[in-house]
């Protein structure tokens, strides 16, 4: 099996490299088509098949001068390898409305990305998407290789709505601190903050920093990024919405109210304590400047952010300061990271061909590189291909002159195949794969709450949450009075009903899984 894929990859790469820079399609297309259909379709006798016109949507974060050229390269590659005529639709960073409109009308669309902003449940309920389950059974080769048993994880009930982007499988939280300030204040937290155990261990650190640097903001950032405001990670499983969560997802499948949990109360109380002590940015509840931006500006000691392997390297690159990362949560695989992914639209004329194409994408380093970094040799080069995956600008090209440079790996299907930009650790993808494969799993991993029948309750709950969660999470209001009010309003808005429904659906799902 592995060999066959490797062989396919080799032919694919060879076909593609023979093809690069050659504008005449006629010569190499049949050859590539064969390689593609035998590899991806897995069924013989399809070589003579007409190329399928496939509309492919992807996010482009800028107006790049060489966009047309990169698109042409993507088209050439897809035609050569999977016998597909790509019609590429590019969308901007926030594209939810465009996607919703295209899905609502009968516009041609086959393969599209779902963003974290997408309302997956409503997409499934409204019939926007194809069920990928049967298609995966039939055509998944590369995808199976990448995800193994978990390839159908992005599902609601039996409906597989997407293939996840390849990235970390939990967004755990952490505190990112400037090392020079730690040293300056004479605080030793250890190389990787191993001397800190719990969040409250930070209080003396903050006190020392505040005393030494009274003009500096100790803790700040974006309003949604505090240990108490964040809706990712926290070592819990939120089952798709914040209302009714598993507090100990590895061992216990009881749905409880996060906002009544000890852990949440401790966090908001701690934020309040820090706020009153003057450590917290006063405008935190409404701040939209990320901690990274503020740290770079030089007046912030630490912020809360999502962490993963090599986060310190990333932070140093982003802020210009050497950083120490204190991981406050244990990462646990849950649905939070598979709410985005790649889907096949209901509009697709031939979902089978669309799936063959997607499967090919998950195995094509070149296609992933094209999406993210552009054309090899023109927009990036491998620095030492024999040794590692590191890439850099070609000579004479820099950030200002490059014609295409997305740098948005989290939005492409399989960034683990693509190049790693110089300055990052060369073993990044290996470490990430290891991180994912050793991560503990939530009992409900693969379960997504179907809230279609409860949209009235969810709507009112969302508005209650917005009212309290950032005010409490930034410490700017007193949890002693506001937290009980918050929970009271949640229950008035129907929290109990949602929790019950969640528990029922989860129990049924668990029973089915065992049975």
């Amino acid at each position: 099996m592995k060999k066959r894929i490797l062989a396919f990859l080799l032919t694919a790469v060879m076909a593609a490299s023979a093809f690069a820079g050659c504008s005449s399609k006629g010569e190499s297309a049949p050859e590539g088509g064969q390689a593609g259909s035998s590899g991806a379709a897995g069924a013989g006798g399809e070589a003579a098949e007409e190329p399928y016109d496939l509309t492919f949507m992807y996010i482009v974060g800028g107006d790049y001068p060489d966009q047309a050229e990169v698109e042409q390269a993507m088209k050439d590659l897809a035609l050569a390898e999977v016998n597909v005529n790509l019609n590429i639709v590019t969308v901007p960073s926030s594209y939810e409305n465009q996607l919703m409109l295209m899905l609502s009308s009968n516009e041609a669309l086959d393969v599209c990305p779902l963003g974290v902003q997408s309302n997956v449940v409503s997409y499934v309920a409204n019939g926007y998407l194809e069920d990928l389950g049967p298609l995966l059974d039939k055509y998944a080769k590369n995808i199976k290789e990448v995800y193994g048993d978990e390839m159908k994880i992005a599902s609601m009930g039996d409906f597989v709505y997407a293939i996840p982007m390849n990235k970390e499988r939990d967004y755990a939280g952490g505190i990112i601190m400037r090392k020079d300030i730690l040293d300056g204040a004479g605080v030793d937290v250890g190389e990787n903050a191993e001397k800190l155990k719990t969040l409250s261990d930070l209080t003396p650190v903050f006190a020392a920093v505040h005393e030494k640097y009274p003009d500096m903001t100790v803790f700040g950032g974006d309003y949604a990024y505090t240990p108490a405001s964040i809706h990712y990670g926290r070592s819990i499983d939120n089952l798709g919405s914040e209302f009714g969560v598993l507090l100990d997802p590895v061992n216990d499948s009881t749905v409880s109210n996060w906002y009544e949990s000890d852990k949440y109360r401790e966090r908001v109380e701690l934020m309040r304590e820090w706020y009153l002590a003057g450590y917290v940015q006063k405008d935190l509840a409404t701040s939209t400047d990320s901690g990274t931006t503020q740290m770079r500006a030089g007046n912030l000691f630490c912020d809360f952010d999502l962490v993963k392997p090599y986060r310190d390297v990333e932070a140093e690159q982003a802020t210009g300061f050497e950083c120490v990362v204190f991981n406050i949560d244990e990462p646990i695989k849950n649905m939070g990271t598979v709410l985005d992914g790649w889907s096949i639209a209901h509009n697709s004329k031939d979902p089978e061909r669309a799936m063959q194409f997607l499967d090919w994408v998950y195995g094509s380093a070149e296609f992933n590189n094209l999406m993210n970094w552009g054309i090899e040799g023109k927009h990036f080069v491998y620095t030492n291909k024999a040794e590692n995956n590191l890439i850099a600008f070609p000579e004479g090209i820099n950030m200002d002159t490059v014609g295409y440079h997305q740098n948005r790996g989290w939005e492409i299907p399989n960034q683990f195949l693509a190049g790693i930009w110089e300055g990052n650790p060369a073993d990044l993808w290996d470490v990430m794969t290891e991180y994912n494969s050793t991560m503990k799993k939530s009992l409900a991993y693969g379960f997504l709450f179907n809230g279609v029948e409860f949209e009235t309750e969810l709507a009112t709950l969302n508005s209650v949450r917005e009212k309290y969660v950032y005010a409490l999470g930034s410490g700017s209001v007193d949890p002693a009075t506001e937290l009980p009010k918050f929970n009271e309003e949640l229950y008035a808005a129907g929290l109990e009903k949602i929790m019950q429904a969640k528990q029922e659906q989860l129990d049924a799902w668990l029973a089915k899984k065992q049975g």
Partner: protein, 317 residues
């Protein structure tokens, strides 16, 4: 009417032909606009049925199953239903009133200026904020109100020895702040309309008044305001139609979505946005819009009826 009913049929037809001949050109003038509204508004308006349906894309809007009033429930299921309705109505009434009074006042002042050059400067300046998007306005407001770095706290309150204010958590200031910001941003719009209205007033009226020895204030009260009345009525009636809609940016971006302020900043549009952000239900969004339109519609019908009783010509329809 009575007369025509006694006319012989051929005379009636003749009259109709004459009438048609007389008014056909007028209908021709109307045609492009009427057709445009038909395409841009009346065809899509049929999509409003989705407010009463459980929308499914595979069956399309018209074949999706009916759900009655379920999509409307979330508007009333919340404890905040009263607060958001109250806020929406009171703020809009305040905006209408303030914009009317200041708009007319500034228009009169501008028209009093005899220096052409300065007059144009004033006229342009007052419309200037209209050009700046509300998101940018929210950053400008933030520049003044930021707790740590705001101009008011840092350059005004602190030097005066007063305590700085945590503006984004103190509810009591926000009704005033929102009214000031809204006036700053939109008063130019109504002001320009009133200037056009004043420009349309017959100069002879003022000359006659001057001969009679009427002073400036007297002229304003007995000529300018009465002559502006039709414009004022039209603008107010049009505004009443939107009294259940709130400027989303003003109530969401300007208070920076601060939860502590919701009691005084939450309006229908922000509530719907926050509620549906993570749900994306087209039916519920439509239901909210329909509800807002309906209330505005009823209010306009009522006020238009009242206006009609006093002056037929000034009614909208």
């Amino acid at each position: 009417m009575k007369q025509s009913s006694t006319l012989p049929p051929e005379r009636k037809a003749q009259r109709r032909r004459n009438k048609l001949k007389k008014w056909a050109p007028a209908y021709l003038l109307m045609l492009p606009g009427v057709v445009y509204f038909f395409i841009n508004n009346y065809i899509p308006i049929t999509g409003l049925v989705v407010a009463f349906k459980k929308y499914r894309v595979d069956t399309g809007i018209y074949l999706s199953p009916w759900v009655g009033l379920k999509n409307f429930e979330f508007l009333f299921a919340t404890n905040d239903a009263f607060v958001i309705t109250r806020n929406t109505l009171l703020y809009n009434l305040a905006f209408i009133l303030v914009n009317m009074v200041l708009g007319i006042a500034f228009a009169i002042f501008i028209c009093e200026v005899s220096n052409k050059w300065l007059k144009k400067i004033y006229q342009s300046a007052i419309l200037f904020p209209f050009l700046i998007s509300i998101i940018i306005v929210s950053y400008i407001v933030f520049a003044f109100l930021s707790v740590d770095n705001g101009l008011i706290n840092k350059s005004l309150l602190e030097p005066l020895g007063m305590d700085s204010v945590a503006w984004y958590t103190e509810q009591k200031y926000w009704p005033a702040i929102l009214i000031i910001v809204n006036t700053w941003k939109t008063v130019g719009y109504s002001c320009i309309l009133y200037i056009a209205g004043i420009a349309g007033i017959d100069r002879a009226l003022y000359e006659a008044a001057e001969i009679d020895g009427a002073g400036k204030l007297r002229q304003i009260c007995s000529i300018t305001i009465p002559c502006l009345m039709p414009t004022i009525i039209t603008i107010v009636l049009l505004n009443i139609g939107h009294v259940f809609y709130a400027n989303f940016g003003l109530f969401y971006q300007v208070p920076m979505n601060s939860g502590a302020l919701f009691d005084v900043t939450n309006v229908i549009d922000t509530y719907v946005y926050r509620a549906l952000l993570k749900i994306g239900n087209i039916g519920m969004a439509s239901a909210a819009g329909f509800y807002q339109s309906l209330v505005g519609f009823i209010l306009v019908l009522v006020s238009n009826g009242i206006v009609r009783r006093f002056s037929r010509e000034n009614a909208l329809f």
